[in-house]
């Protein structure tokens, strides 16, 4: 049986202006699991993620690897829970890409040789060699997202938390980023907060639906994402890829492609009526 590595119990959180962002949140995540936290804007997804490595602390209990988050174990837990933020401009604050990737390792107190080795390894794995000495503000959004991922992967965390990983990305960059997430070893636990339902469907077998700071439902991705009424009630939609799959749309397209001859070789059975051009 897989080990329970995140356990959130009766979590409540309010911002200083008294906005209640999280209300009585309960859920668990198992080792190696991919969980998507979906919900409309302002549902509390980002706030919830910030509790998973102790950046925010609400009332209730958050246990990571069986340990309740506290001041004493926060450093250790932050090294094991890597977080990729929504806006890469928030995550990339150092003067160069290399320095940004090395930042976490320096904070862990690793020696210089090891840092250089690990950073270079991640840079080559993610194809970032050309950006190594560049300043982050010279990169495109897609490149910044990749570097953000590198800053976390270099720490080799056991849990990876993504906050809206594909927001504002063009389809090509989104596909590349999704492929990168898929390549992350399956032993690592991934938690993805998003309102991109298609992304949730493609990457996560389990879904947690959050709205107005409450857990609305939790379950198998197919069951949750096929519930049109539920999703629409929370400003979400059934992902087009799942809808197509469910209605057999993919098969139909394949059949059409196979059966229909190319346009040039098609015979026009009914000749055009005379004088049609004048009508």
């Amino acid at each position: 049986m897989k080990q329970k590595i995140i356990e959130v119990k009766d979590l409540n959180f309010s911002y200083p202006d008294n906005t209640k962002a999280l209300k009585n949140i309960n859920f668990s995540v198992f080792q190696g699991e991919n969980l998507a936290i979906i919900g409309p804007n302002g549902a509390g997804k980002s706030t919830l993620l910030l509790h998973l490595n102790g950046v925010l602390r609400g009332e209730g209990a958050v246990s990571i690897f069986g340990e309740k988050l506290s001041k004493d174990n926060i450093k250790n837990i932050r090294a094991r829970v890597g977080m990729v933020f929504q806006d890469p401009n928030d995550q990339l604050f150092m003067p160069t890409v290399f320095d940004d990737i090395a930042f976490g390792l320096l904070n862990l107190g690793m020696d210089r040789e090891n840092i250089v080795f690990k950073v270079n390894q991640v840079i080559s794995n993610l194809g970032l060699k050309t950006y190594k000495k560049k300043a982050p503000h010279h990169l495109s959004l897609g490149e910044k997202k990749k570097v953000s991922l590198a800053t976390v992967l270099v720490l080799e965390p056991e849990i990876l938390v993504f906050d809206e990983p594909t927001i504002s990305l063009d389809p090509g960059s989104k596909r590349i980023f999704m492929e990168l997430i898929k390549k992350i070893p399956k032993t690592k636990t991934k938690i993805i907060a998003t309102h991109d339902i298609d992304l949730a469907w493609k990457l996560c077998p389990r879904i947690l639906l959050l709205d107005k700071g409450r857990v609305i439902t939790e379950g198998n991705a197919r069951d949750v994402l096929m519930d049109k009424e539920l999703l629409e009630a929370h400003n979400l939609e059934v992902p087009p890829s799942l809808m197509m799959e469910h209605s057999g749309g993919k098969q139909d397209i394949r059949k059409i492609r196979k059966k229909r001859p190319p346009f040039s070789s098609r015979k026009i059975k009914q000749p055009l009526q005379k004088g049609w051009i004048n009508r």
Binding site: L50, F85, N89, D90, F93, F103, G104, H137, H138
Partner: protein, 243 residues
């Protein structure tokens, strides 16, 4: 400004001066400033040697002379202020005032040029790391690093706000109206900056930040750095003490 924001050159022609160790460049610049400041105003021949040295370095570094000249424009208000102060508040004769003005102008132009040369041939973060080597507190270097990094983000944000304002501005606005709009935009910028700083701090905490800024540097002295430093000190020493 000496370091111009928003137009950071990313593909400058790399010269031997660019390749010098930033610490050597920083040290040489500080020594040169001291020499310029401590040279008496009557020793004009020494100023001539300093100027020649700076000009040689400017040409050797392939830095655009036009860009450097443009940067000198920022000195005009300072010189104008000095001129006004000298002539309005000094009790000396006209000749004495002119000598003081010459002294201040030459020294400030030479110092400014050498600083501009240093900034044009050294990347900003290398300058910051050089400052760390001369034991400038990490808090200061950290603040400078963040200020430089986010100046680009903030200028872009300000530009977006300006465009949004212009797209909803119809007809010509009076100066008073424009000032009012800018005054309304400034607090918004302040709050956005504050929110961003909180998010950045959260991102730093998430990667184990414990309020100590740690950096990794790859500086190392090479033969050409040592050779440059020795030549520089010999020429400067000879000019300052013997000429």
């Amino acid at each position: 400004m000496i370091i111009s924001l928003g137009s950071e050159p990313s593909n400058v022609r790399i010269s031997a001066v660019h390749r010098l160790d930033p610490r050597v460049k920083m040290f040489s610049s500080v020594i040169l400033f001291l020499a310029i400041i401590l040279t008496p105003s009557s020793h004009w021949h020494k100023f001539l040697v300093y100027s020649l040295g700076i000009i040689v370095l400017i040409f050797a570094s392939h830095v655009s002379t036009k860009a450097l000249a443009r940067k000198l424009v920022f000195l005009i208000p300072l010189i104008a202020f000095l001129t006004a102060s000298v002539f309005l508040f000094s009790n000396r004769s006209a000749a004495g005032n002119i000598l003081i003005l010459w002294n201040l102008t030459v020294k400030s132009v030479l110092c400014y040029l050498s600083l501009a040369l240093l900034a044009s041939t050294t990347e900003f973060y290398q300058l910051i790391q050089s400052l760390e080597y001369i034991r400038v507190p990490r808090v200061i270097t950290g603040v400078l690093t963040f200020a430089y990094r986010y100046a680009f983000v903030l200028t872009k944000e300000a530009e977006r706000q300006r465009r949004a304002r212009e797209s909803r501005t119809f007809g010509k606005q009076s100066r008073r109206e424009r000032v009012r709009v800018v005054a309304n935009l400034l607090p918004q910028m302040f709050f956005r900056t504050l929110e961003r700083s909180e998010r950045i701090y959260a991102a730093m905490l998430a990667r184990g930040f414990d309020c100590n800024i740690r950096t990794i540097s790859f500086f190392r002295f090479r033969a050409q750095d040592v050779a440059f430093l020795i030549c520089f000190l010999i020429v400067l020493g000879a000019c300052f003490f013997i000429l």
